[in-house]
Structure formats: C-alpha cells, structure tokens
C-alpha cells in the first residue's frame, strides 16, 4: 500500500474528530558489524509504521502500529480514539500545525549510493577502515545506512513528504596490550562519503593513546579541551536542554526568561541550520512545520528557543527522527530537537589551541560525554586525556573524574577551533573551557 493511501485512509477515519494527524514512515536499514577486525554480521531491516494523533472535545489520543498486515489503519485510529475517550480534557491543546510553504531548500540529504548500496559494497567500506588500522589494533563496531521515506498529513490540510538517507557508524579500537583501553570514532551524516583512511588512522592513534594512559593522581584546576566527538553530547545536554521550548514551558530551563541576555562567552554563537547537509536536515519537521535557519545564541546573547506545536509558535523543531537509527520512528513521540545546532567556528587548529593552553587537558575519551540537563553539572570519568603544560602535551592519563558545570563552562570559553564536524545533531569544532577540576586517586 502506498503511503499516500494510508495517510488518506487514516484521515478519512479521522473525520469524526475535531483534529487529526497521521505520520507514515517506511525505512530500509542495512548494517554491517565488525568484531575483532572481522566482519561478523550483515543485516537488512525493513520497517514501516503509522502514528495517529487526534483531538475530540479537547481530549487527546495517540497510537502507533507497525504496518505488518496484522495491524490495520482503522485499528490504529480506533486505538487512539479509545485512549482519548479516557483522557481528561486538555484545555491547553493548540491544534495541529497549519499548512505553510517551505522557507528553505535543502540539499545533500538523499544519497543514491545509500539507496542502491549492496552488502558487498558496505563490507568493502568497513574492510577499508580495518585495512587502515594498525596491525596490533583490534577494530569493532558497525556501519549502518538507511533510507527514510515519511509523510505527515493532518486535518488542517498539511501534507508534507520527506525523503532522506542516514549514514551512521560507530567504531572502537583497542591496542593489543596488557592494559589496552579503547578509542572510538563515530560517523553521522546523510552521505556515504567516508574517509576510511582518516578514520583508520585516528582509531589507531586513539587506541595507542588509551593503552599508554596512566592513572591520574591528585587534583588540579585546569582548562578542559573538548574535541567535537566529546563536545557534541555535552553541548546538547546543556545548551540544547536550556534552549528546548518544553523546558521553558515548564519553567525548568537554565536559560529561563533570558532572551536578549548574556548567557555565554562573547565567542559563542549558535545557529540551528537545517539548510546544510546534516542527519535531520529537512524543509519540514516531523509535524509538517517549515524549518528555517535560526540564530539561537549570538556573541553570547540568547536570541531564541526552539519549539514544537505542543508549546506553540513552533519553530519547526518537532522531531521523531534521530541521527543514529531509522527503525521504529512511528513509535517515537514528537520531541523538540535542534535540527543541526552549529557552533560558529574560530580560527585556530586543535594543535594551536593546545599551544595556547597554559595548564589543561585535551580529552580523548570520556566514559560518556554528558552534563545533567537539569543542573548543568557533570562528573565524567576520563578514559583517556592528554595533560598539557605550557602549550605542550606532557602525559596521557585515565582513571580520573573531570568535574564542573557545563552552563558555567559556556561562560568560560577560552578558544574555539576551526575543525568543524557533524556530531549527532550538532556541527561543532574543538572548544576549550577554563576553570574545570580534574580529580584522581
């Protein structure tokens, strides 16, 4: 059955409601796994499903089904209606989005190579990464490519179709040593343009670094340098959370009521840019609201939050999609996400930032780079970091905690690099932050 027909059928059933919205999606994902430097598994997954939301007498219902022949469109609509019949009245419901023209055009979000890829070609890419990893380094991980075809339509007349490809890779590297440690590299994008030589080289270098790291002793206040791979989630869990309109709606944003106020160092400018190649880039969000390029923070001053239809005045940031996986999109609820949060780059290379640092640590790998989204606090295990004194790397450490508060860190930015990279929902360079604490044994 065509997605158009499914959407039409759902909206036809939905005519008895005051408002209704249908999201239909079909995805195909191919994944190659590598373990101990050998190809271990190859997978093909096809997935299609439907999500239906409706409102009747200010009561809201929501249901989703996989389109597997057992579950029907009518069954999904009935399920949503049943949910609504038990739901208390919601006077705050603002209706689903109204039809609008696209405000931007996107490019580079569909790669024909992904659409037509064979398992043999995927295996070749992974083998090429393995070939570029040093002999005494063990490679693990996965490469996954997906096609996503989605349609959102509602009773207001919205009818928005979206097609994109998603390329995701996550690789780990381990040196064959007595105390190995682990390096990692991730790939996020829409295009199958992977620099296998550079990834292999980086994985080798990071595995060797992790293996030579020594436990850190004592404590020290210093500058923390985060390369893009470690900064992405730190920025999303702090600034991303504070910019999230739902957190503002419920009064729990750390940048509550601060539009027009200084919230970060002058050097920080953040833009949500859906016009360029990025995993979620699209002309419409997953509710059918047009997306646009938006200044979020300009020279340290807060300019805008991001919103979906629930909090109202949607900025086109109501998303189901993720930068990692295309499966089960119909199961996911709409949540507010930046489409592509870009940090305006600086002029320095990462090496120059290190040279400019009097006392610091260049983080190679945290256990998991994340700040507490409610408080901004973090206490992160350093799995591998390079200590810096007077602009030079003087040692490699692990078994320590990096502690601080990411919201404070954003007001203590020392330097911003020029090495921008797509990491999840962000496009970011290396950044350094002063006044952080490192604690060891």
């Amino acid at each position: 059955m065509q997605m158009d027909s499914i959407a039409d059928e759902a909206l036809r059933y939905g005519k008895k409601f005051d408002d209704s919205e249908v999201y239909v999606v079909r995805t195909v994902s191919n994944t190659v796994y590598v373990e101990s430097t050998k190809i271990s598994n190859v997978e093909t997954k096809t997935d299609s499903g439907l999500s239906f939301r409706m409102a009747k007498d200010h009561k809201l219902g929501k249901a989703s089904v996989t389109l597997n022949g057992k579950s029907t469109v009518a069954g999904c609509v009935d399920m949503a209606e049943r949910i609504a019949s038990f739901s208390p009245s919601n006077s705050g419901f603002k209706g689903y989005v109204m039809p609008s023209r696209a405000k931007i055009s996107t490019s580079g979000i569909w790669d024909k190579k992904v659409e037509n890829i064979t398992h043999e070609q995927m295996i070749e890419i992974v083998k090429s990464i393995a070939d570029n990893v040093e002999k005494d380094v063990v490679l693990g991980g996965l490469l996954r490519v997906s096609t996503i075809e989605a349609l959102v339509a509602n009773s207001n007349g919205v009818h928005s179709e979206h097609s994109s490809t998603l390329v995701y890779g996550h690789f780990t590297s381990m040196a064959r040593k007595e105390h190995p440690g682990e390096g990692q590299e991730a790939i996020h994008g829409t295009q199958l343009s992977i620099d296998t030589e550079e990834i292999g080289r980086s994985l080798s270098q990071r595995a060797v670094s992790a293996a030579k790291a020594k436990p850190f002793r004592g404590s020290r206040r210093l500058t923390m340098i985060l390369p893009p791979g470690e900064l992405g989630d730190m920025l999303m869990s702090s600034a991303g959370s504070a910019l999230n309109g739902e957190n503002v709606f419920y009064g729990r944003s750390l940048w509550q009521d601060k539009i027009g106020e200084k919230i970060a160092s002058d050097s920080l400018s953040l833009t949500d840019d859906p016009t360029v190649e990025a995993p979620l880039a699209s002309a419409f969000d997953d509710e059918g609201t047009p997306t646009e390029k938006r200044k979020l923070v300009e020279k340290g001053v807060l300019r805008s939050y991001i919103r979906d239809s629930f909090v109202g005045e949607s900025t086109g940031n109501g998303m189901r999609r993720s930068s990692v996986d295309a499966q089960g999109l119909y199961e996911r609820s709409i949540s507010i996400k930046p489409i592509n949060m870009v940090v305006t780059p600086g002029k320095m290379t990462r090496d120059q930032i290190v040279e400019q640092t009097d006392s610091g640590i260049l983080i190679d790998k945290f256990a998991w780079p994340e700040a507490d989204s409610l408080t901004g606090r973090f206490g992160l295990e350093v799995r591998c970091g390079h200590l810096i004194e007077k602009g030079k790397i003087v040692g490699t450490i692990n078994n320590a905690l990096m502690i601080g508060n990411m919201m404070d860190a954003l007001s203590n930015i020392e330097n911003i690099g020029n090495d921008q990279k797509i990491v999840g929902l962000t496009t970011i360079p290396t950044m350094s932050f002063s006044g952080m604490d490192l604690v060891g044994n």
Partner: protein, 457 residues
C-alpha cells in the same frame, strides 16, 4: 503463525543454514505521563514483526520484517541465509536444548483487565500528591508492556510465552532561585497492575516532593578517593557496570573484557558475591526464556570474592565450551541478539546499614542512582549518584548534591569491607554500548568500599 515460521525454517535449512531460528513477536505498550496535573503523554503502541536467523560456518545472518505476510517472511528467510554467507568464521556448532513449552505470565492483575481510566487516575493522584511549595514540576508516570513471543528453531524447539512488565513512578523538580533539583521514586517489575494497587500512592508522591525540596539545600560533595557506602541502587549500578558488562561472554570472546581468563581469580574480598538471575521472581529483568529460546538461569558470577564465570548466548557458550545461560537477548524482533544481563546484583552480607554508618569515620552514603557507563576493556566504571549524605564520625551530617563514582572495578571490590543483609533490586533499561536497550534490574545490599568521588558545582 507457527506454521509460517516453520516454513521459513525449512526455507533457511534448504538453502544452506546449518542452524536457524524464527521468532515472531508482538509488543503492546501503553504509557501515561502527567506534568503538573495535565496528561502530557497518553499513548498506546502495537508493534510486531519477525526475526529470522541463519547460522552458516560461524556467522549469523539476520532477516527481519514488520510483516506477517508469508511471502515477505520467505523473502526475509532468504535474506538471512544470504547475509550469513561470506568468508567462513569457523566451524563452531551451536548446541541448543530442544524445548517445547508454552508459558503464561505469573501476574495477579493483568493490565488488560484494568480500565485505562483507573491507570490515568493513579497517575494524576501521584501527581497531585507532590503538590508542595517550591515544587516546580510534578511528574506522574505509568507504563505497561505486554510482549508475546513465539520461537521455533531447527532442532525442534517450539516455545511461546508472554512477558508482562509494569512501571509506576513519581518525580518532582524543586526550584529555589536559579537552582533546580530533582528526586524520584517508584516500583517496576515483571508484574501486573497489582504493582500499582499495592502502593501507597499518596505517601510516595508526598515523600518524593519533600525529598526534592530537601535536595535544594544539598552541598557539593568532597572529592578524591573516599570511603563510599553504596545504597542498593548504587550497588546494583556497580554490579551492572563494573562487573556485569565485562562478564557478558561476547566481550570475552572478542577479548574486550578485562575479565578474560579470570575464572578462579580472587577479584574481591571474601564477603563479595554476585549473581545474574533471570529467574528472580517479579524482577524487571526476568524472562522465562531468552530471545534464542534458552531457559533462564541463575548464574553466580562471584562467590566469596572468587570470579566464577560468564553469562552466555548460544554462540558464546559453544565458543567457550560452556552451556548457554539464557542471556541471549534482543531489544525487539528488529534488533540483534547479544549477551545481555537480566537481574544483576551483589549478594547479601551480615551487617545492618546503621551499623556500617556507625563505624565509618569519614565517608559518603549514596542515595539513588542516576546512570552509569561500563568499561569492559579498561576495567573502570562511571556511576552517577542522584545525591548522598556526608558521614563524619559515624553520623550523617550533611546532604550532598549529585556526584559520580569511578575507579578500577577489581581494586574497588578488594576494598569492600562491609555488606548489609538486605538485597533490593531496581528495574531499568540497559544499552549495549550505545544502543540495543533491554529491560533489566540491578541491585544489592549496602556495601562499603573505597573509590574516587567527584561532583560539579
């Protein structure tokens, strides 16, 4: 459905599979979440699909579809065999037991037998119970999952069973000036609606709100290597992250685990015991069979401080010459089977928590976990704690805001010198690395050890 799955098995066998299995799964989930007295989420999901696996020369091939149509399943069977082909990995043979069994969940009140209205009322009741000065956000939540599984395989197993899981929770966010703090509580289990019926909802909501407000006065914890008394949740997090993940045998076969070749080695003091128990009654991670159709079991991982062994899937058991332990688990029909934990916990000791606190000169008592991260390769761990208490001269003196624990797993367990009597389990979700989430629980008693502590301002 079994007939269609058996035809798919035949298709895989006739095209070269040395072993194969077919799983059909439907998952119905229902969730209610309130914020500040309004229903924010109320949804039902009905998903289902087929996973076909073919084993050829030491390699799995998967084919999954979200269609129960016979021709689509046949095509997926062909894809599974195609995906299993490639350069042979080895001659390893899988040796599953043949099981023919049908099982129903052991629940008192099946969630299907309870009106949605009653579930919504419970959520709004716990939301309302959190009303208090300084409480900015009151959250109530209820979730149920009913999972029906059918597995057939090429050694003649035919299994079908249903799993039912229920969660209920409250979370308060308190604010004072620019400061925000949270506290949460709530049960979860392989249980029906009795989990909610048996609760004192009013009391739970009120206490969560009170504790969130109290946390606004918490101070930054001391940092460095300190004496730490982990509460059952943090003990569970340590069991899970520090020793559980590296005891998953696929990490061992890949030589990614620091516990490779460690069976028989002394890894903790004599009072340290640890288990992964898929049979724990009512625990959130329990399941009668894993996703390969192996019966669940109770695996002792550490006994009297000595490392006993690993958790296994069919593949790792064959590779390491062991028996499968029922730990081959997948997030759902569309995801891959890995070796995964079920209910992982440290065993009980003979002390009381009051007694342990009383003989602690200076240290930290943990109060609820936040999240954690494993390090099977390096032997470290990261365990985040929601808040804690400072202990000075045997007495609790100050409330501490959130902090993180880290250290080397083996060094930490060598410092464990006190373990309390009661083991408590807490349900949650576990990812393998960065994806593939499965239902688990973890827990333990109160345990005193030395580790590195630090928390941001």
């Amino acid at each position: 459905m079994q007939d269609i799955l058996l035809k798919a098995l035949n298709r895989m066998e006739s095209t070269g599979a040395q072993f194969c299995d077919a799983k059909a799964q439907t998952v119905r989930t229902m969730g209610v979440q309130s914020i500040n007295g309004d229903i924010r989420q109320l949804l039902q999901r009905d998903t289902g699909g087929i996973c076909l696996r073919a084993w050829i020369d030491g390699r799995w091939g998967y084919g999954t579809v979200t269609s129960f149509d016979e021709s689509d399943i046949s095509a997926a069977a062909e894809a599974a065999v195609r995906n299993a082909r490639g350069s042979p990995k080895g001659r390893l043979r899988l040796e599953p037991d043949t099981i023919v069994k049908s099982m129903r969940p052991n629940v008192k009140i099946h969630p299907d037998d309870v009106d949605l209205e009653e579930k919504i009322k419970a959520v709004l009741d716990v939301d309302r119970a959190q009303e208090a000065e300084k409480v900015l956000n009151r959250v109530g939540s209820y979730a149920e999952e009913v999972k029906d599984n059918i597995i057939v395989n090429s050694v003649g197993s035919m299994i079908d069973w249903q799993e039912v899981r229920t969660r209920f929770g409250a979370m308060s966010i308190a604010s004072e000036g620019p400061r925000l703090e949270r506290y949460y509580d709530g049960p979860s289990g392989t249980a029906g609606y009795e989990l909610v019926k048996d609760l004192d909802i009013e009391r739970m909501g009120r206490e969560v709100a009170e504790e969130a407000v109290r946390t606004l006065k918490a101070v930054r914890p001391p940092s460095g290597k300190l004496t730490v008394i982990s509460d059952p949740m943090m003990s569970g997090l340590l069991a899970h992250e520090a020793m559980g993940h590296p005891s998953e045998a696929d990490e061992v076969t890949k030589k990614r685990s620091f516990l490779t070749d460690c069976v028989g080695m002394k890894v903790g003091t004599d009072i340290v015991d640890m288990f992964d128990n898929g049979l724990a009654k009512g625990a959130y991670g329990s399941c009668p069979f894993d996703d390969e159709g192996t019966l669940a079991s109770n695996t002792q991982i550490i006994k009297d401080g000595v490392y006993e062994g690993y958790m296994h899937s069919l593949e790792t058991a064959s590779e390491l010459g062991s028996r499968p332990t029922g730990n081959g688990r997948a997030e759902n029909f569309g995801k891959r089977v890995w070796v995964r934990m079920t209910n992982t916990y440290f065993g009980p000791g003979d002390r009381t928590v009051e007694d342990i606190i009383a003989d602690t000169r200076y240290g930290i008592l943990c109060d609820k976990m936040y999240n954690g991260m494993e390090d099977p390769v390096g032997g470290g761990f990261e365990a985040k704690c929601l808040r804690g208490h400072l202990i000075e001269n045997g007495r609790i003196t100050e409330l501490l805001q959130s902090f993180t624990l880290t250290g080397r797993a083996l060094e930490v367990l060598q410092t464990t010198d006190a373990v309390s009597k009661d083991v408590i389990l807490d349900g949650g979700m576990c990812g393998k690395g960065i994806e593939d989430w499965v239902n688990v629980s973890s827990g333990g008693p109160y345990m005193r050890s030395r580790m590195i502590v630090g928390g941001g301002e």
